[in-house]
Amino acid sequence: MSLNFLENFSKIPVEQWVGDLTDWITDTFEFFFEPIKEHLGNFIDWMSETLQLVNPVIFILLIALLAFFATGKRFGLAIFAVIGLMFIENQELWAHLMDTFSLVITASLISVIIGVPFGIWMAKSGIVQAIVTPILDFMQTMPAFVYLIPAVAFFGIGMVPGVFASVIFAVPPTVRFTNLGIRQVSTELIEASDAFGTTGVQKLFKVQLPMAKKTIMAGINQTVMLALSMVVIASMIGAEGLGQKVIEAVQRNNVGLGFVAGISIVILAIIIDRFTQSLNTQKGD
């Protein structure tokens, strides 16, 4: 047998299969995707429009106040938020900022709603953990662009497929950290809980989740950051927002616009990150 025996095998049509599978899913579950597309799309639009109704100055002041109290009455984040948001408003990117913000919040909320229960399920069952862990690895290592293709197939173009792709990309940390947080609760506390006759649900809500809260919040913080990082990519399939401006800048080879839009995303990222982090550390200190 020659070393080229591999040539004896014809190319396995994985490409064809996955394509067919996606088509099949698109057709079969249309009844499922259509309402999601419609309602979710409406929700994001409504959120963005509502946010834009608020006068930017009032909005900025509100954020600054929130930041001041959320960080334990420190001025750092509040001042940063005021300057950063004023800059974005000055660059006439306010509407785009609100779109992006709505997209990120929606994707994060959905990720948490899906991710936390999954994490709990994983923590309660070794089998589920063994199955879900490689799937999470797969979800995180697959180039994010690839998710855009089925997203478009299922939901067309616009905000909704952007949210879909963001959720797939952003949900793993919440699942992982929830699982980790619950598994880290010391066996003695679990024994104490059992010894006093808790049911599974009581144990979960009275002991495991409160004890895992910090870890879960760290996971949610990661999820929000990942969702934000998908904004630019999601813009390639028509999601509106700051990402759109970045894509526009790339297509026109416009460094200036690219920088302005990019820095706006960074400002938003820092504000969101510090907010979610301060929610987590506030009580412990």
Partner: protein, 398 residues
Amino acid sequence: MPIIQVENLSKIFGKNPSQAQKLLDEGYSKEEILQKTGNTVGVNRASFDVEEGEIFVIMGLSGSGKSTLVRLINRLIEPTEGSVKINGENLAKMNKQDLREVRRQKLSMVFQRFALFPHRTVLSNAEFGLEVQGMDKSKRSEKAKEALELVGLGSFINQLPGQLSGGMQQRVGLARALANDPEVLLMDEAFSALDPLIRKEMQDELLDLQERMQKTILFITHDLDEALRIGDRIALMKDGSIVQIGSPEDILVNPANDYVEKFVEDVDRSKVLSAQNIMKRPETVNIEKHGPRVALERMREEGLSSIYVTDRSRNLKGYVTADKASEAKKNDIKDLTEIMETDVPTASLDTPMNEIFDMIHDSPVPIAVVEDGKLRGIIVRGAVISALAGSEVSINES
């Protein structure tokens, strides 16, 4: 009926417990079974009863299976074989719901490293068991406050456990267990993580509580001094088996085998042994029948320098010394009452040895051990010393 009945209770950790069980029945040791089957014998056919209101101590070194045993009793660990009956109900065969009820109503546990919920206040930790039972808020907080009052933490109810010292944290653990008003308290090395002074204080308080509330307590420890101090009865464990069950004195005085003997070798015996363990049968003269002559004769026979005087029904009257007796003999005095000393050093049957130690130091004569005025035995200096040295302690059969 005993409140806890444990019968033939075994736990084998590993993949093939039935095979290991068979080897165990054939008399193989823990190590041999581990080598042959890869299974670890946690507890090996333990059987014992705990009576209501008693402090039953299970004691053994780490790895002896004592912590496994206590977890088998409330089924935090599933037994491989055997039965655990609480008030006659077999826990080992119970469904989950009934088991939960038993844990809520009858058994409470106190843990070595306290196992308090760090996110809950002291009060809400103490409420935990009642909260789980679904008791309404005002009622459970009232009961929890009572329990906290009982352990002396009434004014700390709004603190978080992390703000308290180790001893106080364990008081919260105790209050949490007591708030349920369980029939049995399971205490797993409850005081082992505390420093020695606090530990002793907690032991005293536990004994106090026990006296007031008459709870049945199953106490696990690796500390023999602790076991001897608080236990009404002690079960000694080695390699998963119970080697001996008995009262503290039994264990010290009649060790069942070499292992127990080695174990108790370096215990401070003065704290545990009492007068009845070291007294011996007294030589006496009868005040109604005998005179100085007989007394002198008896002393010479036994090589004594003094002898105790009783009446016919062994009521202690006093003692005579050899000097006084021979003087009386010379002066032809017939009645012992005239030469008898009545200032007698006495102890009762349960006077601890460390007190006797002080007494005997100043006493010219052996100490009389008296029960209801009757002379039961005497303690000579030599017996105290040899008992402290741990050898040749004999129980006076009464």
